[in-house]
Symmetry: C2
Subunit: 363 residues, 2 copies
């Protein structure tokens, strides 16, 4: 077995999911993730956890959904009971074809998802963690050779998470006590109010309510936005790739927008509902293992020297107890590089310049 696969399994089980002896663990295995699943099973055995493997295949899903013409039963009890009785769900992503369900009608997929809301809730109520095993299909999506993509994935995933969590905590402390964030970059001059908001240290561990491996971002929910911002990292939304999105905010709301490609898709997103024109998230990427765009939000938004803003729904974890954040049916992340000629400031103090934080060498 590739040492990196074994190490990935250990990080997933021990750091991310915090599995202990006797835990009931559902291992959700995508078509292309068999090798990682074997390694995870070994680590789960060593820890004395109980294991049930479920198989998540786009090809099976496609065949089933296309054939299923009737209404879907609401939350079949056999599946709901599985998750309701589980302690952890480890989701191994790794498709063999990113277009595997391209010919399943959207309405069918949405009806299926709607019918299974209680199953989804039972799954999200566990200590779930979602991770990625490199496949040729994902390498292709990233525009990379397979071996180079594997190096990329392991650089992003096999990090010193404890040390990164400590570093991210410095940023969280600054954001939690701050009132105003200012982002200055070519095409960007944006002010965000964060008064009273709480940042989340997303260090790939359920102990911090962080459910993705890899992770590596600190995020909060801005209360207001004023100014203009350019997102120079492409973002694929519902199969459409938006490029060079430019937004102008006034009183927290988008009042003007442009995009170099798929401006129509952007316009549609903004018209979803009132909340779709306001921001739900400010995220700051801090994973230096992620040094390039790979058209996969699990990685892209964690990329070091980037910030991302999400149009739409805010996470409750960032809000004061009982407060209601921005609400919307959408949550669309848009990413901007923080390279040359950029600063990120909190209450007038520069905390990152040209992508380098003030506690790093070279600031």
């Amino acid at each position: 077995m590739d040492d990196r696969i074994r190490e990935h399994a250990e990080v997933l089980v021990d750091w991310s999911a915090r599995i202990e002896s006797g835990d009931d663990v559902v291992l959700s295995i995508d078509e292309g993730t068999h090798d990682l699943a074997v390694a995870v099973a070994e680590v789960l055995g060593e820890r004395g956890a109980n294991l049930l493997s479920v198989y998540r295949s786009d090809e099976i899903q496609r065949a089933y959904l296309r054939a299923h013409e009737q209404d879907f039963d609401a939350d079949p009890e056999f599946e709901r009971a599985l998750y309701a009785n589980a302690d952890s769900v480890l989701v191994l992503n790794g498709t063999r074809n990113t277009a595997g369900t391209a010919d399943v009608p959207d309405e069918r997929q949405q009806a299926f998802a709607r019918a299974r809301e209680a199953i989804r809730e039972a799954r999200l109520a566990t200590d779930w963690v979602s991770t990625l095993h490199p496949t040729r299909a994902l390498a292709q999506q990233a525009g990379m050779a397979f071996e180079a993509y594997r190096e990329f994935v392991y650089d992003a995933t096999l990090r010193d998470w404890g040390s990164l969590a400590d570093e991210m905590d410095r940023l969280k402390t600054i954001l939690d006590s701050g009132s105003e964030v200012h982002i200055d970059a070519p095409g960007t001059d944006l002010t965000l109010s964060i008064d009273g908001r709480t940042a989340v240290n997303s260090a790939a561990s359920v102990a911090d309510d962080s459910h993705n491996l890899p992770s590596g971002e600190v995020f909060t929910a801005p209360a207001d936005a004023e100014g203009e911002v350019t997102f120079d990292v492409p973002m694929t939304v519902r199969g459409k790739t938006l490029r060079d999105v430019y937004l102008v905010f006034e009183d927290g709301e988008v009042i003007d927008f442009e995009a170099a490609s798929r401006e129509d898709t952007l316009a549609g997103l903004l018209e979803t509902d009132d909340g779709a024109r306001r921001l739900g998230e400010l995220g700051i990427g801090m994973n230096r293992g992620i040094d390039r765009y790979t058209d996969n939000i699990l990685f892209d938004e964690k990329m070091a020297e980037t910030v991302h803003l999400a149009l739409g729904r805010a996470y409750d974890a960032c809000l004061p107890e009982g407060a209601v954040g921005n609400d919307s049916a959408i949550h669309v992340d848009l990413i901007a590089e923080m390279g040359e000629d950029t600063t990120l400031s909190v209450d007038g103090e520069v905390i990152q310049r040209n992508g380098v934080f003030r506690w790093e060498d070279g600031f």
Copy 2:
């Protein structure tokens, strides 16, 4: 998709498992059975059943069991609840390596199985069906080329099951009203008492309490045995292949035995307990799609022109209400060809001669 795979899926879902709209179906997918799983998912979608796929991998099982040094938890509830709430379990067998768990200690495997007795019972309480998808590993075990093995599997599986069920019912009627079976063949002169016993028409449908696809045998539980019998079809038991087993019965009990290979294994089996020296089953193979030995009990015991006898435990379905049949920790099938110079008689009347039943052409 290969038409035979689609047809196999239809036979499994409709004839064998009798799946209906709204049924909660667990699809248990072996490493090498993905293509059949896709076809089964399509048919389940058409029928409006609910589907959850579990993944059964020898490699995952090996990694988990070898690593698991602690005691196993008894019947983890998340898995028990899944099966307790399911209507059907469709088990697709098709390993990629028949020796995949060869280096897992027997004691570990047995301890794991013992700890999960309630899960097993919950699974067997559903309308479960076990079938086989041809893989290269299974072809190799059979000593056959892959394409030839596929032809063999589909010849055995894609039959006119309704018609075979009718034919098998003729034999069941004869056995149910009979008192004594006599088997006469080279090296065999055996009399079995079947008075008051009920035969099972095993036609690959849960409607007849038959849980294997393919099937094609009529079996009952003999009450007594007298005489000698030679089993000329090899039988692999716990990884050891017995050849040319010869048994002598007196008052229902084995009093002498020989084997051309693995006589030591045979001796060990006979010493398991008192019931291991007595017969628990007489089965008569009637699947003419199975015309050769492939070292797989799911197929071998259904082979046309064979009978098999099992040392050990009897099935309750063959006994009068409330009666107790032969009891043992083992149930080891041994198979004899019924070719030239053979007769199978019930109460003195020949019902099969040289492998041909009396209702068939050429009798």
